[in-house]
Amino acid sequence: MSGAPRTAIRGMLPPVLFGAAFVALWEAAVKVFDLKPYFLPPPSGIWLEFRENIQLIWEATQVSGMNALIGLLIGTLLGVAMSFLLARSRILDQLVTPLAIALNAVPIFVLVSVFNNMFSITSEVPRRLMVTLVVYFIVLVNVAKGLTQVDLTQLDLLRSYAAGDGAILRKLRVPNAVPYLFTALKIAAPASVITAFVSEYFGGSQNGLGSRIVSNIAISKNATAWAYVLGACVLGLTFYLVSVVFEGVATPGGVSSRDRDAS
């Protein structure tokens, strides 16, 4: 029984050691080459700023995190709803899906300046709208795939049981799409955080992690800016890890993915 945690630790050890070595090398490089703080602050200096500003960083994290979370939730709901419509209508599918795939490949978050123009300068709506849009297309494309790309043998079986479209949806399409939804969330969760940060670079309130990074760099407080970057990394990782945990709960032991690989 102790085998699994032990291999997990053994698997994590090399990247942790590598990360530690990288930080040590960074610290050493700053000392040895006498790099100026405005060029590259040492990790120890960033950590000092991080602890000193922890309250401010936490507040900024809440703002960015809330924007990401709201966008993630609404985008997921809309994406799932739309994918059901696409699965129902072939014409709609042929119209929307190629567009959705194309939009997934371009950095649509640049639209945020357009959205900023539409709402008041202190509004969080443009940022949330941007996150929603990014998440929406990721979820839409993946869940629609899960609903339509079903096993043909299973489809024949259900038809042989006289199952109608509704029963086929409930018994086959929806369960088949569940792993696709969690795959989408694993992509969308970090993407929502990234979009929330980057949206802040395009103006609006100076309250989130992204805008704090920009404003601190503008007044040459590089170490402080890096401290906010650290906060951003933590937030992004948190979103990702939560999505991984959700996937583990919904598909215990990764059963579905294992079976799909085998067949």
Partner: protein, 270 residues
Amino acid sequence: MKAVEVRGLARVFNAGRPNAVDALVGIDLEIESGSFVSLIGPSGCGKSTLLRLIANLLEPSAGEVLVNGKTALRARLDQDYGMAFQQAGLFDWRSVVKNVELPLELKGWDKLKRRQRATEMLDLVKLSEFAGHLPWQLSGGMQQRVAIARALAAHPPLLLMDEPFGALDEMTREHMQGELLRICGETSTTVVFVTHSIPEAVYLSTRVVVMSRRPGRITDEIDVDLGTTRSEETREADAFFKKITEVREALRSDDLPGRGITDIRDIEGR
């Protein structure tokens, strides 16, 4: 009573287009209740198409199909038949017992009755102890047994099987053939069985229907009189080998004279 009656059946794929293919032409076939009929022939002879037409998973281009005296559509809606394919097609998010319950769920049976019947069926295929397992935890042969249990769960009078043992190794395959005969004997189910293995067709069937391609049609029907109870000894009996030879020659005679030559011409013409 006839379990299946097929009259003047034809099916054209891509009808009306330049790439139209006559998958089946002029098929007449009668299958008695309680018999075990194999459809055998080379790839592309339309044997799976014929099975899918009987199952009403495809619509005929001409002719008619009656299952238990009803139209194929009515028979499908009444769940008068069970079906098994080359892929077991188990739902990997459902446990073994819940897979067997699936056709009963769609028939609207209540939970208790469903579980009771599914447990009986797993008993029949000797997989009771795996009821709570998930499909990927089972071997290919075991998955196929679950698929058979599922096909028979609603006690349909007819079982339609499309190369169900095609993906299994020879040992498992022979074991499964014996199991299938035992199960169908116990449940007195009529079986229509698509295969391209001659020994498999002969061992299982009371009648072997030989088909040929381009266009797909029935060229011969061979009764197999090896008795109703067949065992491993049957596989070594002289009568068994004689039947295998007979079916093989029926398949070959169709390929050699006229048709073989037209095939060669086709190739040379290119």
